[in-house]
Amino acid sequence: MNFPFLTLITFIPLLGAVVVALIPGRREREIKLVAVLFSVPSLVLSLIAWLLYAQNAGEIKFLEEATWIPTLNAYYRVGVDGISLPLVFLTTLLTTLSLFYSSYTIKKRVKEFFALFLLLETGMIGVFVALDLVLFYIFWEVGLVPMFLLIGIWGQPQDRPQYSAIKFFLYTLVGSVAMLLAFIAIYMTTGTWNILQIPGLKPLAGNPGLAIAAFWAIFLAFAIKVPSWPFHTWLPDAHTAAPTAGSVVLAGVLLKLGGYGMIRILLPFFPDLFKQFAPWIGVLALISMIYGALVSMAQWDLKRLIAYSSVSHMGFFMLGLVAAAASLEVANPVLTSRAIALNGAVLQMFNHGIITGGLFFLVGVIYERTHTRDLKAFGGLSAKMPVYYGVMLTTALASLGLPGLAGFISEFMVFRGAFALIPTYAIIGVVAIVLGAAYILWKIVQHVFLGEFSEERWQEIFNPAHWHFSLDMARFEVITMAPLLFFMVLVGIYPAPVLNVINAATTALLAML
């Protein structure tokens, strides 16, 4: 396989960003078109890559290597396996959808928006494909900057966008600089940045104190991104302030960067330490799950609610990860349990991307019409916007883990693994499922869709002059949601296509530790 899939997937958007930047700013139509078109190849290629990959199990594929900074022994090294591939696809999919959606909804500073968004895509994909710590770090930070601007410039004034933007920026930066030190320390002992080799070289094995410091430093960086309690507070603000597409990518992909990092770097580099600290990380996971659910139950701002629900759902992910890391045994029954847990974790990331991404699109749908997200302002919409009700209900149910939809599969696998390996945590964790049902149905469905529809209230929030599409979901909104719904149902009913890829990789990974 010498066709440079990943390089193209990663850098075509960058090229697109440049092209967009060169188009004169007033030609908005062309800009939007070009931006969307430039995001499509990556999507197609990543899909092809997935299909090609599906046949062969476990190991890294589409590997590309080129010397980059010899003195630093840093390489341009990219490749994917079953863990990163779904996430790459997720990224390309959500980006294309976001760009498509935004081409209808973004009105101000169009050129900058689309250029930045494509740049952001490059950064995110890069993180998933990079197999060299330096490269990884660079992509990691590259993604940071555009998102910072997206939030700051296109955020709604009432949500203090600049404040949220800098908060997001600082939080992430704190984590990543700590991570940088840890990476350097690792390089000192192993002499390589190669993510695939380092686990074999037992980094910092000689220096326990430093190893622990490095472990927590890296953990911090990823935990902030995931985000795990108590590093989560940038999330609600960032989500609330960001424009719809921004929130979608933020929840759909950026959170996954952290999760992916934990699986790809933290776990393989320090399996023993991870095992040793698993109890503590597990506690964090539990707190994230339950606390996140509780807090989102207290929200009256739709976006904030979903943001906090992300905290809860990524808690599930961490629980699965902890379960997988809680034992290093590779004898079969245990290995299977660990693999299931890790599969659940990875799938949870994928699902959360699809579902929560969708939820944010749907918030956008109502926000674009009414310019409010206050749950108290709605009610009885299901009669007014039946299609919207149907779509939102499906997505929401997927989010609360209703069997038959995507969310359930990953939750089930996570808990399957957790019950086998860390029963106590699992028993506590299930509370989050009940709470999940509570805030989704009680807050979202009840307040927005059920109840009495009041015409006058509607009149004061909905101004037809500002909305040129149909009252119920417009065609472009339906088109945006369709692929996501498709995956929710597909994964919910027949997850094998996705899980085959993931399972192979996770099993290989765990067996390697």
């Binding site: 003195t71 660079i138 600082l170 930066l173 030190l181 320390a185 000192m188």
Partner: protein, 505 residues
């Protein structure tokens, strides 16, 4: 050594001197009403190019081993050959460095000078002379030569700082700069004298030799000497607590000069510091490492914390440059003798300097452009820059990222190397302090970003920065990216430049 050798080895300096004099002369000729004065900056620029060329021409002579440049004292005095300067990789590096600094400063100063300064020729000539002083100081291997070149640099800097005679801030800054600088150099000179007394020689290498092999109990003199020398050099580099002149001088000076001051003297100071400590005082490692480590921490922290409060961008960047010097110092403090490892600290220092050169000069170029337009360097002058001149805004953003140290920018590579060195030497504390500081620094760099991107300036029309500035900013931005994405040649350059030093250590 023969005159020809002598001339060849000094070629870059000679070229530079020549051009400077030519500029002065032409200024005289064109003073009265002749309209071709606008050529002067380009001539000066040509001079820097010539310097570059010359440096490249004699590169082979210096790159290997290095060639000593000696002055012969007269027959009646024994006619011994006293080495005064050396043409070694480090010296060459700084010749290159100087050429770039001068070029960027000259490019970005054109409009400003035309707008604010009466005597163009003198101004450009002075800048060239300052550059000359830099190259000399970087090459000097003899206390006398060091003192001379640094004084040369200082005096030119004083004059440049006070060049806006009608502007009281400028003159005030100059006075302070002068008083502080003169005192500091006097202290340093006293230190030199003690060092001479302790060893009986002014040549760095022989000082080391004497100190290592000496029987006479003179070591007690060396430490005070060391301290006093540090005062002088700390003043040049603007290390805390010898930094306080910097903000005033920077704020007062004409902005192009500020740009120069924020890079040139610092670089010279570091060059001398490296050479002096590593060549002359390797034996006193423990002393100066511990002192410098402390200085580095204080410098980073104080620079950043105070910068949080500035509302004038020039002053803000002044403090930022103080903090940056702190990061660079880590490279020297955490220098790793084993030259084979990827970061010897010293090469980190040079890479950082190089990255800093483009980043800071680029940033100042943008400030100049904005100031040319709004007539102010306050933060709010940057409001809505993205709408008024997106090129400047984006590049400025890039420079700020580089100052923070976020990839893919040059600053990241620099930090990678110096922090790497710190970790390699197990000086985790230093690295952590550095990291924390670079996070704090985000706050005030963000202040500028905020104005540029989020701030709204209703009645501010778009403007054009003019060719010179555009080139300067463009080149700087390009290099900032290059150094990060195609780091190899720069890293090698830096490593080679310090290889001799590290080896001699």
């Amino acid at each position: 050594m023969t005159l020809t050798q002598f001339l060849v080895l000094l070629l870059p300096e000679l070229v530079l001197t020549l051009v400077a004099l030519v500029v002065l002369g032409l200024d005289m000729l064109w003073r009265n009403g002749n309209g071709s004065r606008h050529l002067l900056p380009w001539i000066a620029l040509a001079g820097t190019v010539a310097l570059l060329v010359a440096a490249v021409l004699i590169w082979p002579l210096g790159s290997t081993g290095g060639a000593a440049i000696t002055f012969t004292t007269g027959k009646d005095f024994g006619g011994d050959q006293t080495p005064m300067m050396v043409l070694d990789p480090l010296a060459l590096f700084f010749k290159l460095f100087t050429a770039i600094v001068l070029a960027l400063v000259l490019l970005s100063s054109g409009n400003y000078v035309r707008a604010h300064i009466r005597f163009h020729g003198e101004f450009y000539a002075l800048i060239l002379f300052a550059g000359l002083a830099m190259t000399l100081s970087a090459a000097a291997t003899n206390l006398l030569m060091i003192y001379l070149s640094l004084e040369f640099l200082s005096i030119t800097s004083y004059l440049l700082t006070g060049y806006l005679r009608e502007d009281e801030r400028s003159t005030e800054g100059a006075v302070k700069y002068f008083v502080y600088g003169a005192t500091a150099s006097a202290v340093m000179l006293y230190g030199f004298s003690l060092l001479y007394g302790a060893t009986g020689t002014l040549d760095l290498a022989s000082i080391a030799a004497v100190l290592t092999g000496s029987v006479i109990p003179v070591h007690w003199l060396v430490y005070p000497a060391l301290i006093m020398v540090l005062v002088g050099l700390g003043f040049k580099i603007a290390l805390v607590p010898f930094h306080q002149w910097a903000p005033d001088a920077y704020e007062g000076a004409p902005t192009p000069v500020t740009a120069f001051l924020s890079v040139g003297p610092k670089a010279a100071g570091f060059a001398v510091l490296m050479r002096l400590l590593l060549t002359a005082l390797p034996g006193f490692q423990l002393d100066w490492i511990s002192v410098l480590a402390g200085v580095a921490i204080v410098t980073m922290t104080l620079g950043n914390l105070v910068a949080l409060w500035q509302s004038n961008v020039k002053r803000l960047l002044a403090y930022s440059s103080i903090a940056q010097a702190g990061y660079m110092l880590i490279g020297l403090v955490a220098l790793a003798p084993e030259a084979h490892s990827w970061t010897t600290g010293l090469n980190g220092l040079l890479i950082y300097l190089f990255a800093y050169l483009f980043t800071n000069l680029g940033a100042f170029a943008v400030v100049i452009a904005v100031e040319n337009h709004t007539g102010s360097a306050q933060l709010d002058a940057f409001a809505g820059l993205m709408r008024r001149n997106s090129f400047l805004a984006i590049t400025m953003f890039l420079f700020l990222l580089s100052l923070i140290g976020i990839p893919p920018t040059a600053g990241f590579v620099g930090k990678l190397f110096v922090f790497g060195a710190a970790i390699q030497r197990q000086m985790i504390m230093l690295a952590v302090v550095g990291i924390v500081n670079s996070v704090i620094s985000v706050y005030y760099y963000y202040a500028i970003m905020r104005q540029m991107f989020f701030g709204e300036a209703p009645d501010a029309p778009p403007f054009d920065e003019g060719p010179g500035l555009r080139v300067a900013v463009g080149v700087a931005a390009l290099m900032v990216l290059m150094i990060a994405l195609y780091a190899e040649p720069f890293i090698r350059l830096a490593s080679d430049s310090v290889s001799l030093l590290a080896a001699s250590f």
